[in-house]
Symmetry: C2
Subunit: 416 residues, 2 copies
């Protein structure tokens, strides 16, 4: 029986096959994500992986709606596996924002889902770090969020030579659009179409972009001129100054190619890319000051901003740069039971060592001494311990080869 296409099995390392994923690498990534968020004072939240379909169709932009993993449940409800976290978060914030001091700084590590019929071999789920700030209009919040993004990536060993944050402004593009819009009657609709063209500019043939822009009343030349000028808005200047003060200036540049596909962004937007341009975006985000109002049906109005960072591109990048550590069983002590008469006393030793926080392995059933020792080595155990005939415990450090003999009651002390 096979797993569904586009889903992943996560196995402990060493991996048994190239088509499976590393549970150890996943936990390593999650751990770094959580630690960076903690250092920045972000608190963890989570919501349901399944939500009413309506939550996502309300205003997530046409692109995401076509990719929804949606169905009708046994109670005849239209539901969807979440394709992104922001609508759930906006719903949760709208429900209980009054209980929290502003700014609210929250993060989550959700699994997200999408279903596209066309694309074979493409993943239908991934994990994301989502970090968001609510209740602060000042760009100091944008800088704080981008600093978190930078330091999250740095915590994996990535440097300013490996990645850059391309900083842009939905506002700047909106003004550009409004200055140039010829057809005022269908402005809102074509504004979104215009943003979509900009979003895809770098991966679309020139002729196609030109054609689409002309249809909207623009030329590729004026668009390219605006991008190349790269004149930071006052907002972007303030963000850059803030990041510079933190010593993070090398990690960020203004780049108006970035505009973000989703409809709900309103202010500064940004994406993280590897410097060599080998991979898709590592992360992306920006301001979405109107979404909470929209999701809450006008009841709550809170400025907001956030980013998402997926596990798949990040893992590819870390692999390519040789930044993934070796994962193993991390056994602290392998208890050798060479004489079966000592098994019960050995079980007590194992219990005591584990109670002291040590990771302990042993042979569940009688096995030859050399086989047990070989297993200890395979597991890269740091030590072996053996209950001797006189009930003393012989401890051996497998790295230094140093040995010592301890009373059973004192054995734990030699490890902690």
């Amino acid at each position: 029986m096979e797993r569904l296409p586009g889903f992943r099995d996560f196995y402990p390392e060493p991996l048994p096959h190239k088509d499976v994923w590393s549970a150890d690498a996943r936990q390593y990534i999650f751990g770094k994500w959580r630690d960076a968020a903690r250092r920045y004072g972000f608190r963890e939240y989570d919501g349901p992986p399944l939500e009413p379909l309506e939550l996502f169709t309300t205003k997530s932009g046409d692109e995401i709606v076509g990719q929804l993993y949606n169905f009708t449940d046994k109670g005849e409800r239209a539901v969807a596996l979440r394709p992104e976290m922001t609508p759930t978060l906006a719903r949760m914030i709208a429900a209980h924002e009054r209980a929290y001091k502003k700014p609210i700084k929250w993060f989550a590590v959700p699994q997200l889902f999408r279903y596209e019929r066309q694309q074979k071999g493409r993943l239908r789920e991934h994990f994301q770090l989502n970090a968001d700030i609510f209740g602060e209009t000042d760009v100091a919040a944008d800088a704080e969020l981008i600093a978190l993004l930078i330091d999250t990536l740095r915590s994996f060993g990535l440097t300013a030579e490996d990645f850059v944050i391309r900083l842009s402004s939905r506002n700047a593009w909106q003004e550009f659009y409004e200055r140039g819009a010829r057809n005022t009657e269908r402005r809102m609709e074509s504004e979104y179409q215009f943003f979509q063209v900009i979003d895809k500019l770098e991966r679309t043939p020139k002729e196609e972009s030109e054609q689409k822009l002309v249809a909207l009343g623009f030329s590729l030349t004026e668009v390219n001129r605006f991008i190349e000028a790269g004149e930071p808005t006052p907002e972007l200047k303030a963000i850059l100054g803030n990041l510079l003060a933190r010593g993070l200036g090398d990690f960020v540049k203004v780049d108006y190619h970035v505009i973000r596909g989703l409809a709900y962004y309103t202010g500064p937007v940004f994406e993280a890319f590897d410097r060599k341009g080998e991979f898709r975006a590592i992360a992306g985000g920006g301001r979405y000051d109107n979404l909470v109002k929209l999701i809450s049906g006008g009841k709550v109005n809170l400025p907001a901003l956030g980013f998402g960072m997926g596990d798949v591109v990040l893992l590819e990048l870390l692999k390519a740069r040789g930044l993934l550590p070796k994962f193993d069983a991390a056994v602290d002590v392998f208890v050798l039971i060479e004489d079966e008469t000592s098994r019960l006393r050995s079980l007590k030793l194992i219990q005591d060592l584990r109670a002291a926080g040590l990771a302990v392995e042993y042979s569940l059933t009688p096995a030859k001494p050399d086989k047990q020792f070989k297993r200890a080595q395979e597991l890269k155990a740091a030590h072996t311990a053996k209950v001797e005939n006189d009930a003393k415990v012989r401890i051996r450090n497998l790295n230094t080869r140093a040995e010592l003999v301890s009373s059973a009651s004192d054995a734990v002390k030699h490890f902690v």
Copy 2:
């Protein structure tokens, strides 16, 4: 817009409402689960939350099939959100067991789903610690698994006065059934029905159990006599002896009321209960030596055993026993910016402190000094730090009220 019935929102503490759940308590539980598994040498794995429906209908017993959260996806596949982890695990093991040395000791922390039309207010998802051992027939593996279960519960501060493992044997019940079975023609079918009656004995009116047992050719009297005798099988005796040697004898007792509902169990089975009998089972598991063969279509045959422990009953028990710690933002340093001319230098200090691993908060925008200090106290920050006019840093320990002044470059050293 509301979340779906039976699903949970997890918020940071302090909780804003009684209908939401604590993300902090959830992470606390997950952390303890992972740490106990690590000490016992179990490695983490995970599979897809969505699987082919067939994986669960193959042989999970009638009970679970009626509770499946299943639907047809856009590719016309019959799929289900996983109601339990064991079939996924058996599938993963069957696919790649040859790459791993035996015994295989694995754990996961999956979210599981069920859909029952009838029961209102009941949760449709929960999280579980799942721990399993593959490739070992000896009851030493059963004892190792039960020891892990005991020590996982103990790591929350629960003692032998709070919970007990009720140890039983599917084998013993099978023999009992075979000795007494009157109708040999439909033995397999009615054996499962018999197990279901035993499983529900304690929560079913006597008359109803009696009636059902008689229909199967048994009497309630003989069933109760077998339970009350509580004579441990040689297997159970060996498990008890093993746990006694570890000093865990107080945590376990033989109790033939336990039989486990699922069809696939084959040997020793067990459940963890609170001693006061206030809650449903905290955890349950046992041997299922035939499931891997079944799931793999006969290709792989590996003895197996495992348990599952849900987050909901555990959380209720920890709350009732006052064993949940206070969760707060755990801010190490709140940086006070009382003079806006020091903001940029303060940002550098914040960056340095965070780079050293400290959790740091500050006011994103100008705020009155007393308001900033109040916020530091609300966040239960351990220290405040302030960049002074001469670029020195004044550090204050909010618990001891001790103060010191440091150069900016040395400030980090006073915390780590």
